[in-house]
């Protein structure tokens, strides 16, 4: 009972702390994104300029008196100000409205963007792009993660071997991002060899049957997955290899070796087990990192994911969409951090939730 209370208290405190961080962080984002309210002036000027140019430079408005056109500009600009809330001051209420709409996960309505199917609901805008992002980045991140772990374990058992030295030598390749390799992959496999597509989600026009669609999707994923993998694999392998090597030289591992335990057994019970919290943390962060996509990589591969959507929102100063994307990430991160606290306790006997000071 006592430990349960301790766990409850601990949970409440942590949730409160994470919650406060989230609220403060989000409000800061709202303020920074809107340049402390100064963005309103920029947006008003932009709206007015666009409306005036559209009206005055439209040849079909020739013959309509200048005063009438000016009134038309004023009225249309005012309507747009009203639609975007620019007729009200940014502080305090409008900024708080942004914050509460996002935090409540209602997400609200986009100011400029529409979803691919034509909805202005932020939830829909994000949800329509989510599958494409998840399938690409989920696949590549998981592939990258498990490949890196496996390969790192393999290398940690062959410290100083030719394979190990080669991998260490290749690690700097990861200093270039995935999209950089993507450009070369496109040039080689699409432009020159013409064996793989240039980009996009599926072939054009998209196949009508689900199996054909899935096959086409897989084909279109090859290059971006490869680009992400090449861009990050070597550094990841190097990092994990070093990590495992540190654990491999612990006294209890040496003792196990001296006892004659098998290499796999040692790896599973004496290396993997104590490193599990770190591995799980890394995995969880990789998984939630999938949420935001990758702006440049999606652009290079013409991939209709959340990254490009986010960029479009930034370019259009679409606060609800930007905030929606970030708040969801914030919740995912906060939830993950809380969850990890419990997972650590489950997988590592040295850690106890709410255990207090030793």
């Amino acid at each position: 009972m006592k430990s349960l209370l301790a766990v409850g208290r601990y949970l409440i405190v942590r949730t409160l702390m994470v919650g406060i961080t989230l609220v403060v962080g989000c409000y800061l984002i709202v303020i920074i994104m809107n340049m402390g309210g100064k963005l309103d002036d920029v947006r008003r000027a932009e709206i007015r300029s666009n409306v005036a140019s559209a009206i005055f430079l439209d040849p079909s408005n020739r013959g309509i008196p200048a005063d009438a056109l000016k009134v038309m500009v004023d009225e249309l600009a005012e309507l747009e100000y009203e639609r975007l809330g620019l007729d009200r001051p940014f502080f305090p209420w409008r900024s708080l409205e942004y914050l509460f709409t996002a935090l409540s996960l209602k997400l609200g309505t986009a100011e400029q963007l529409t979803s691919d199917t034509g909805s202005r609901s932020v939830a829909r805008i994000l949800s329509e792009r989510l599958p494409a992002t998840l399938v690409l980045f989920g696949t590549s991140n998981l592939l990258l993660f498990f490949l890196a772990i496996q390969f790192a374990l393999f290398l940690s058992r062959r410290y100083g071997s030719l394979v190990d030295r080669t991998m260490v030598g290749l690690a700097p390749l990861s200093s270039a991002p995935g999209w950089f390799y993507g450009i070369f992959l496109i040039l080689i496999f699409a432009a020159v060899l013409r064996v793989l597509p240039w980009g996009g989600l599926v072939q054009v026009p998209p196949p009508d049957t689900a199996p054909a669609y899935a096959l086409s999707l897989l084909e279109h994923m090859i290059l971006p997955v490869l680009a992400i993998t090449i861009g990050a694999l070597f550094a990841n392998v190097y990092r994990w290899r070093t990590f495992f090597l540190i654990y491999s030289s612990e006294d209890y591992v040496e003792l196990a070796k001296a006892k004659g335990l098998s290499a796999r057994g040692i790896q599973r019970r004496y290396i993997m087990r104590p490193t599990l919290p770190t591995i799980i943390t890394s995995l969880m962060l990789i998984l939630i990192g999938t949420w935001q996509g990758q702006i440049i990589l999606e652009t290079v591969f013409n991939w209709p994911g959340l990254g490009r959507q986010y960029l479009a929102a930034v370019n259009l100063n679409d606060t609800p969409v930007i905030l929606g994307t970030l708040v969801i990430y914030g919740y995912l991160l906060a939830g993950t951090l809380l969850l990890l606290e419990f997972i650590y306790a489950l997988v590592d006997p040295r850690v106890r939730v709410g255990g207090g000071k030793v």
């Binding site: 002036d41 920029v42 947006r43 008003r44 000027a45 932009e46 007015r48 300029s49 005036a52 140019s53 005055f56 430079l57 040849p59 079909s60 408005n61 020739r62 013959g63 309509i64 008196p65 200048a66 009438a68 056109l69 000016k70 009134v71 038309m72 500009v73 004023d74 009225e75 249309l76 309507l79 639609r83 309505t109 963007l113 529409t114 979803s115 691919d116 199917t117 034509g118 909805s119 202005r120 829909r124 329509e128 494409a132 496109i186 699409a190 013409r194 240039w198 980009g199 996009g200 989600l201 599926v202 054009v204 026009p205 998209p206 652009t299 290079v300 013409n302 209709p304 490009r308 100063n317």
Partner: protein
């Protein structure tokens, strides 16, 4: 001999029969069978894809000089160029010192502003900075458009000659004028009040204007000025130069740019728009102080206040020279853009709008064989840089230029705009008669025999013409009711349609009816009425402007249809006057609204959805109501429209029945709803039009649009092929 003659006769008969048969078999509508449009947002990759044969054309208007060099040097590629955007230097004329900072502003002096014209080397800007993708520009007229290139090239050329690059002359003027302002040159630097004269450049960073700004700043530094270069995006700079107080002294020079996506045949308003308070109500425009003579000329041109083209020429001459003296703007270049394609592709591209802005692409796009012979059929693979960013609905849907490309392929306006000179050719009507008030400067083009022009001292509007629409009673307010003492108009256009108009097939198997045209007159007006069930305040400003010049519609004859349009609006070209009189958020001559085609039955679905507050045509209203922004091609509104269709099908619904019942029979209504349901079942959308292509499917997530040739289209494919020929003088 007799037999021979008879034989000849039979041969002749046979030839006639064969030619008739060939005519019957001649291709109609589009040359292409299919057009697949997809998105490629990476410009370099798009060009590479066309070069690699992965796609046939990239319709984006590219301005990248390196890509242009690639395309030009590739024998497998062709390209079209288009003009329309311009770059200039906007000058802040407040002064001699800025009240906000006390700093000296040399550009408060007209002669110094004018001197900049001599200082800048426009050829250098066009060829070196813009990489050859630009033409030197000296006046506010677009060099390739009608006024500068056709009507007054002589005046234009004299200005080019007079304001040719002459840095020495520019320096001499600066040296003459600066001391008058109290500035002195110390060690080659201009000083004022013991400080260097600093010029603040607001330089746009998104395109070549960054280098252009640096270039001009460098020239002024060479003349002894200190410069501060503020590099800003459009969004960052407009609150400063356009909406900020020019007297605050935050800038002296701004690297401006303007875009025109259609050929402007009358640029008479430019002199007031760019140089006088009349142009805009923004703070910068309000500090313009003009020479009274210039202002008078600019005002006359703005208001078309002249009685003949000869008088207009005189005004233009004064205005063109006068604008150079004012020089609130120093024009630098007419930008040219290009769109690459595979070498066996041909299309009528618009001088200003390129391929994406061509209204005639649907009829003219085709492939040729190695010998250059036109091919029938084929699939065109088009790349655009961005597409399907907003819903498609004809009233207030997407206005994105790359969405309008497929929309234009599926729809038809009453006319087709000539891609070469901006005039129009009739498409769904046969001919037009324009009557103008005596003294109006309107002329007709002798090549356009479909349009006749005559002048009358007074044009009375018939009392039974429709003037306005009563949203409450859903009935027309006639001219007789609105103007009990009668009214007159400046122009009257009589549009004559062919008898075959009502045989014109739509994509869903229905045919054009007069109800489509009447509804096209009603809806744009009704939406602007607070009593309307589909009232949308965003429609009000356009309606109010329209009513300033609108005088009446009249259906003079129902079959074949003859439509009369009375208006106070007119254009210099009789052909444009004929078709533009009935324009309010689209056209009353044929159901093509602001953002595309819509016939009465499909439009009714959106109207009903909006009446029931389930969806809305406009983004603003949709946002306010918290309902979907109506899309006819995809998304959540399709289910709503489908529900409306089923309701209409079960009741044989007719919109605006108090008026429309006269033009729309119950049987026609039932037939349309039935065929629309079949169409929806087949293709899964409600985008019904009458153009040479129909929308097979739109894939909004994958960003792909598939258009297919409309086999029932009746007009011959040859009809607009002349647009590919160069324009004869």
């Amino acid at each position: 001999m007799q037999l021979d003659r008879r034989g000849m006769k039979w041969v002749a008969v046979l030839l006639v029969a064969l030619s008739v048969a060939a005519g019957a078999l001649a291709r109609t509508g589009a040359w292409l069978d299919e057009v697949v449009i997809s998105e490629e947002n990476n410009l370099g990759a798009a060009v590479a894809r066309v070069a690699a044969g992965d796609s046939d054309v990239f319709i984006f208007a590219l301005t990248d000089a390196a890509l242009f060099a690639q395309v030009r040097s590739n024998p497998d590629l062709g390209y079209v160029r288009n003009v329309g955007s311009t770059s200039e230097l906007t000058l802040n004329p407040v002064g001699p010192t800025f009240p906000g900072t006390g700093a000296l502003n040399p550009f408060s002096v007209p002669r110094i502003r004018e001197a900049l014209n001599y200082l800048v080397d426009r050829d250098y800007v066009a060829n070196e900075i813009m990489g050859g993708l630009a033409l030197p520009k000296y006046t506010c007229l677009n060099g390739p458009f009608t006024d500068a290139s056709v009507r007054y090239p002589d005046i234009y050329n004299l200005i080019v000659e007079a304001y040719a690059n002459d840095p020495a002359k520019a320096e001499a003027i600066f040296n003459e004028e600066m001391p008058k302002l109290g500035a002195t040159k110390v060690d080659g630097k201009w000083m004022y009040g013991g400080k260097p004269v600093n010029l603040i450049f607001l330089i746009r960073v998104e395109d070549e204007r960054k280098r252009m700004g640096d270039y001009v700043a460098g020239l002024l530094e060479d003349l002894g000025f200190e410069t501060t270069r503020l590099y800003r995006t459009g969004a960052e700079s407009s609150p400063i130069w356009m909406n900020g107080d020019p007297a605050a002294g935050q800038w002296n020079v701004y690297t401006g740019g303007w875009v025109t996506t259609a050929i402007a045949r009358d640029q008479g308003t430019n002199f007031a728009y760019y140089y006088t308070k009349i142009g805009r109500s923004d703070p910068l425009w309000q500090v313009y102080e003009n020479d009274p003579a210039y202002l008078a000329v600019a005002e006359k041109l703005w208001n078309n206040d002249f009685n003949s083209m000869a008088e207009r020429r005189d005004l233009f001459e004064d205005a063109m020279w006068g604008a150079m003296k004012e020089s609130y703007r120093v024009w630098m270049v007419d930008r040219t853009a290009f769109s690459p394609f595979v070498k066996n592709f041909r299309v009528a591209a618009d001088v200003a709008g390129g391929i994406y802005g061509s209204q005639a692409w649907g009829w003219t796009a085709h492939f040729v064989d190695a010998a250059g012979k036109r091919q029938e059929g084929g699939k065109l693979r088009v790349l655009v840089n961005s597409m399907l960013s907003n819903p498609w609905n004809a009233i207030a849907g997407s206005n994105w230029v790359y969405d309008m490309f497929p929309i234009r392929g599926t729809g038809e306006q009453a006319w087709v705009r000539d891609t070469r000179d901006g005039l129009v050719w009739p498409l769904v009507f046969e001919r037009a008669e324009v009557t103008a008030q005596t003294g109006l400067p309107i002329a007709s083009d002798p090549r356009h025999t479909w349009c006749t022009l005559k002048f009358e001292t007074e044009i009375k509007v018939p009392a039974d013409a429709w003037y306005d629409f009563d949203a409450k009673t859903q009935k027309w307010i006639t001219v007789g009711e609105a103007f009990p003492n009668g009214t007159t108009a400046k122009t009257k256009s009589v549009i004559y349609y062919p008898a075959s108009l009502y045989d014109k097939p739509l994509h869903d198997g229905t045919k054009v009816s007069i109800a489509d045209i009447v509804l096209a007159m009603i809806v744009p007006i009704d939406r602007a009425k607070p009593d309307s069930k589909i009232y949308d305040e965003s429609a009000v400003p356009g309606y109010k402007s329209f009513m300033k010049v609108h005088k009446g519609y009249r259906i003079a004859q129902r079959s074949p249809l003859i439509l009369e349009v009375y208006s106070d609006s007119y254009q210099l070209d009789a052909e444009l006057t004929a078709v533009n009189g009935g324009v309010v958020a689209g056209s009353a001559l044929f159901p093509y609204y602001s953002q595309g085609p819509a016939f009465w039955h499909t439009l009714t679905l959106g109207i009903l959805a909006e009446e029931k507050k389930l969806a809305a045509f406009g983004a603003t209203k949709a946002g306010k109501l918290g309902v979907p922004y109506t899309s006819y091609i995809a998304g959540p509104s399709l289910d709503i429209l489908r529900a409306m269709m089923l309701e209409c099908l079960s009741t044989g619904y007719r919109p605006y029945e108090p008026t429309m019942a006269e033009f729309l029979s119950l049987s026609e209504a039932v037939s349309r709803w039935t065929l629309l349901e079949n169409f929806y079942k087949k293709v899964g959308h409600f985008w019904v039009a009458s153009g040479p292509f129909y929308l097979e499917k739109a894939y909004p997530i994958e960003k792909v649009v598939v258009l297919k040739r409309f086999a029932d289209y009746k007009l011959p494919s040859e009809q607009f092929m002349f647009l590919l020929d160069p324009l004869k003088p």
